[in-house]
């Protein structure tokens, strides 16, 4: 790697008049950020790693005892925790698949010359600009069996979206799809508009039909950026808390972060919840790594 050479400041600038160098200015910008990261991210991360090996309870004054890997061992042997993971996986798959299909579809529709394209795109982006809590609250109203507009519009009578244990998770996923498809759409749109028009012309000349063109030209060329969208959405969906927590309290919608929340702040098993948080972190890292590997492979092509 080349060593960066610090250039001298232009002597006529005010910073130079104060006797500052480029180095001073660089530190001025970087040090606060690093301090912030250490205090609010890195320190708690390491501190909670320590707690995860203890039976510490934040609700009592009892001293924390070192218990070794007991928390991890018990958590990984706990069938209920695995059920939470299974629910989370189901939620991630349904929600991310839905977002990709809807988002990419919308991007395909928008990737052409249509009137008011800019306005339309902005309007479509609105859901993801709302607060999770707000979205949760008003979807709860939309889903309401007796006066919700969804049942009214679909003519479903008093169909119970959120209190039906088999439906509730899908209802949460549906809300998540509504909220985050625009994100996939935005990235896909960027990818789609980056596909050179002359490639489509070449494909037309080469007598490729629309489907063949889509699967052989469009999709492979958009794949890298679509993968990035999928990585982001998978990570987010994996740690979903607010939507599921606000919308419903069914045991079938108890995704892993809700379990974690309950363990930490209702049951006050601080040490054990730290261990669970670490298990979740490692899982998210693992999944992300698989995606990144795949992304690099896609990019190479």
């Amino acid at each position: 790697m080349a060593t960066a050479v610090m250039t001298r400041l232009d002597p006529s600038t005010r910073a130079a008049a104060h006797g500052w160098s480029d180095l001073t200015i660089r530190n001025l910008f970087i040090i606060p950020t690093i301090l912030f990261l250490i205090v609010f991210n890195i320190f708690p991360l390491i501190y909670s790693l320590g707690y995860s090996f203890t039976d510490f309870r934040a609700s009592t004054n009892a001293p924390a005892n070192f218990v070794g890997l007991q928390n991890y061992r018990e958590l990984l042997n706990d069938d209920f925790i695995w059920r939470n993971f299974a629910i989370t996986a189901q939620y991630v798959i349904v929600s991310v698949t839905g977002q990709v299909l809807v988002g990419f579809g919308m991007a395909m529709l928008l990737n052409r010359d249509i009137p008011l394209k800019g306005l339309l795109t902005t309007l479509l982006l609105l859901p993801m600009m709302l607060s999770m809590a707000v979205v949760g609250l008003f979807w709860k109203l939309l889903y309401d069996p007796s006066f919700g507009i969804i049942n009214y519009a679909l003519g479903l009578g008093t169909f119970e979206w959120l209190s039906n244990p088999n439906m509730a998770l899908y209802a949460v996923a549906l809300t998540d799809i509504w909220m985050w498809s625009p994100f996939v759409m935005l990235l896909s749109l960027a990818g789609l508009s980056a596909v050179p028009k002359h490639l489509y012309e070449a494909a037309a000349i080469d007598r490729a039909g629309p489907l063949y063109t889509f699967f052989r030209i469009t999709l492979p060329l958009v794949a890298p950026i679509l993968m990035i969208a999928i990585i982001f959405r998978t990570m987010e969906a994996f740690k979903t808390f607010d939507l599921a927590y606000i919308l419903t309290s069914q045991p079938t919608t108890e995704v892993i972060s809700i379990r974690l929340y309950k363990m930490a702040f209702q049951e006050w098993q601080t040490g054990r919840s730290c261990a669970l948080a670490y298990i979740v972190l490692i899982m998210v890292l693992a999944i992300t790594n698989i995606y990144v590997k795949y992304l690099n492979k896609v990019k190479e092509r």
Partner: protein, 367 residues
């Protein structure tokens, strides 16, 4: 066996007419070059034939069948783009196989065709590579391969070698010619480079501002340009054009370039050939640099002139001679005129002279 015919083609981009009543008949196996400056409508014409551009009026006929309402895929025409337009995520093999696979050809047959065309183009060892790993020339070979592999009715080429550097361009030019001779398919080739056009074409179609100027073999358009535009567009260095007056004198006729004290001697038959065709005072004389003869000694019919600028081009020099108000560029042996400012004697070879009327149309007078 493919004939292409354009009948009364008109194309507008908004209010701008880019193709004006274009009529052209292209014979089977012919190599046609559309030549013109950028924006003259040549690429639009090509894209209209390919089906990438709609036309506003007229007919495009392939083998007598009107195709202007067909999609490109139904016209069975292949095209090579200036930007190569290779599929960046596919290997060379997959790129060439693309048009075959798109029509669901069997795997074995695809393989045979791709390897066959790769051999002809000498790119067999590149088949496993990605386009991004290729040089410009190889990219264009692949693009040509992709066009040729499905044996299209006609090949369209849109400045296929315009993006390459000069040396490679010359190489690829020869290669395209070789391929055409070997494969023999009706080809329409668009370029703004007149040297390319001359080297490749069976017939050159010269366009200017959407209007067809002249169609003819390279030799015809070079020797008998139909108007000033063609005369000055074809040929390098550019043809000299000067306002000139024709008069009778005792030796025959003389053509005086504007501002010159003396005229160049011409045979008397010029007068009878010009007779009645145009006012003899509002003529333009066109003469290619090789038609301006230069020598060091004074002689009959030679005017004393001053060499102004000398461009040594290796195998020959281009010397700017000041004649009256005009500069005449002459082509001389390398090093013949030693330095700028030298006094030499010049004459015009009457058999190389062209005459144009005030509107720039050729008077068709050749001696």
């Amino acid at each position: 066996m493919t004939q292409i015919e354009l009948r009364g083609l008109q194309k507008f981009f908004g209010a701008v007419q880019v193709i004006k009543d274009l009529n052209l008949k292209i014979e089977d196996n012919e190599f046609i070059v559309l030549l013109g400056q950028s924006g003259c409508g040549k690429t639009t014409t090509l894209r209209a034939i390919a089906g990438l551009e709609t036309i506003d009026e007229g007919d495009i006929l392939i083998d007598g069948q009107p195709v202007q309402h067909l999609k490109c895929s139904d016209r069975d025409i292949a095209m090579v783009f200036q930007s190569f337009s290779l599929y960046p995520h596919m290997t060379v093999y997959e790129n060439i196989a693309f048009p075959l696979r798109a029509t669901r050809m069997s795997k074995a047959q695809v393989d045979q065709e791709v390897r066959g065309i790769a051999k002809i183009l000498r790119i067999t060892d590149l088949l496993a590579k990605k386009p991004s790993a290729l040089s410009g020339g190889d990219m264009q070979r692949v693009a040509i391969g992709r066009a040729l592999v499905r044996r299209p009715k006609a090949m369209l080429m849109d400045e296929p070698i315009g993006a390459l550097d000069a040396k490679l361009r010359e190489e690829m030019r020869a290669e395209i010619k070789r391929l055409h001779v070997k494969q023999g398919s009706t080809t329409i080739y668009v370029t703004h480079d007149q040297i390319e056009a001359m080297a490749l074409a069976d017939r050159i179609v010269i366009m200017h501002e959407g209007v067809l100027q002249q169609v003819g073999s390279p030799d015809e358009v070079y020797r008998y340009p139909s108007n000033l535009f063609v005369a000055q567009f074809v040929g390098s260095p550019v043809m000299n054009v000067a306002n000139a007056a024709v008069a009778e004198d005792k030796a025959g006729a003389s053509v005086t370039v504007q501002g010159a004290p003396q005229g160049f001697a011409f045979p008397r038959e010029l007068l009878s050939k010009l007779n009645g065709k145009a006012a003899s005072s509002a003529l333009s004389l066109g003469i290619r640099p090789e038609g301006v003869l230069v020598q060091h000694e004074a002689a009959d019919g030679f005017l004393p002139v001053e060499a102004h600028i000398i461009e040594p081009l290796g195998s020959y020099d281009i010397v700017d001679l000041k004649v009256g108000d005009q500069m005449l560029r002459a082509r001389t042996r390398a090093g013949y005129v030693a330095r700028a400012g030298a006094r030499v004697f010049a004459r015009i070879d009457p058999s190389h002279a062209h005459f144009f009327d005030a509107g720039g149309q050729s008077l068709g007078v050749r001696l």
